[in-house]
């Protein structure tokens, strides 16, 4: 058979060089990462780890049910922290949302500033904020609530501002033409358009905050994390198992309810 090979694909030199650079760069990054990360392999693959597994795993999967009521109590505190924090954030985020919406705040400088503040806020994990509040005002659920509230404002404010930016401005214009004043326009023209989405996002944020609140206790900011630290320090792994079980159940139920309500709202 007479073999006719297809022409080589047209390749621009720039692209080839770029791909080589990216490839070599990635390879170098991975080599550096794995070569310099400090993992004590001899300790991880030691007799002690095997013993740990024997001790921890069976207990983790046989939760201590006598511990359930205490776990439940702390889980409730977790929910309270999440709810208080989300509620505060849902309210605080309203002015921020309008401030960062380009169709309401028409000053481009202030508008960008608003967006930046919200973006910056979201980069601080709630647990880091909680740690700072624990130091500033002492340990307890209040520090956790503040951390949740402040962190949530970042995301809610951004989502709210997107909702506000998508409203039908013709309605606003029509009301202006009717001679309505700014406050009237706000309550009759804008709020009805945004309330369902605002609510939906606030509930979604509560869902996230429940998850986030479960860890606050680890650094002394209240909730079920408090128990987790104690139980794991005392190596009571059957108690840790119970804590995990309760978290899984509560988080799943709340996700389910939240999804259900949000579907009905919008």
């Amino acid at each position: 058979m007479n073999i006719i090979v297809p022409p080589k694909p047209p390749k621009s030199g720039v692209k080839t060089i770029r791909n080589i650079i990216i490839g070599v760069g990635m390879l170098a990054l991975y080599i550096w990462t794995f070569a310099t990360i400090e993992i004590p392999w001899d300790r991880i693959f030691s007799q002690r780890t095997v013993e740990n597994f024997d001790r921890v795993i069976p207990k983790l999967f046989s939760p201590d049910f006598t511990f359930a009521s205490r776990v439940f109590e702390y889980m409730m505190e977790t929910l309270f922290i999440a709810f208080t924090g989300s509620f505060m954030a849902a309210i605080l985020a309203v002015p921020f949302g309008f401030f960062a919406a380009s169709n309401i705040n028409r000053n481009p400088f202030l508008n960008t500033l608003g967006k930046w503040i919200l973006n910056a806020d979201r980069t601080f994990p709630e647990i880091l904020l909680a740690l700072i509040f624990v130091v500033a005002i002492g340990p307890g659920a209040f520090a956790g609530v503040l951390a949740i509230a402040i962190h949530s404002v970042g995301m809610l404010g951004k989502l709210y501002s997107e909702v506000v930016e998508s409203i039908d401005m013709n309605v606003v214009e029509a009301m202006e033409a009717n001679g309505a004043n700014k406050i009237q326009i706000f309550f009759y023209g804008i709020m009805p358009q945004v309330i369902p989405e605002f609510l939906s996002y606030a509930i979604y944020r509560f869902e996230i905050d429940v998850r986030a609140s479960t860890v606050l206790g680890i650094i002394g900011a209240g909730g079920i994390g408090t128990l987790l630290v104690i139980s794991s320090r005392n190596r009571n792994w059957d108690e840790v198992g119970m804590i995990l079980l309760v978290i899984i159940i509560f988080v799943s139920i709340i996700d389910y309810i939240s999804t259900f309500i949000r579907k009905r709202i919008v």
Binding site: N52, G144, L146
Partner: protein, 269 residues
Amino acid sequence: MSKPLNTNRVPASLVSKDTKFRMNIIMLVVLALYILSSVMTNSSILRFDADFFANVWNMIVQLFPPNWSYAGVVVDKLLETIKMALIATTIAGILCIPFSLLAASNIVQNKFLYNFIKMFLNIMRTIPELILAVVFVGLFGIGVFGGILALIIFSLGILAKLISETIEAIDMNPLEAIRASGGNTLQVIWYAIVPQVLPQFVSFTLYVFEINVRASVVLGFVGAGGIGLILQQQLNFLSYQNVSTIIVITFVVVVIIDYISNKLRGRLV
């Protein structure tokens, strides 16, 4: 004599009575819940008193100015944090491939297997990475290893969910064509599924990398490696100026990583 307006016929309000009633009830319940939970967590409005603001202000003042001579230590630990996120994201990216195929309803015909994998992934996502880290540190001791494992498990849950949803949305016709020309299962995956989901796969993996960088910042609080360790340490030593150095540098690096990742993702899809 002009008749008075028949007030009975004028609607009493702008919305129907039922709607108004329901709205009021919901508002009351939410408000009551807020009052209850704010009392239970000892964080009612009354807590925002002069003392509170004085304490917070005091703290803020002590954070400044950052101590730049401490930056070297910070950069070292921050690099460790990023390495943890990179390793965890890579491993989760590889591991998620079988999971996302098994959790895609158009690929797996066995309903039981599919539902089982979906439920498994859902449960995996309910446990915060910090709690996973506590357990892994208990198993493997203090250090980055437990942190990386926690990140892997957590991001595996997110990635497999996102990618299985992408797979569920692909065009099934090419799969049939490859099968009809005699391709085996692996060839069907490689020739018909992979090209369709590759851009989203890369994009989601980058997104999870962003999440992992943020998450690994705090893993140190439970001894699972990274910058969180020195952050907690410096706070306990009351060296607030070192704390603010850590926060500022971490903040800048996280913003830069997010920015690059966003740019790359924007070009992919």
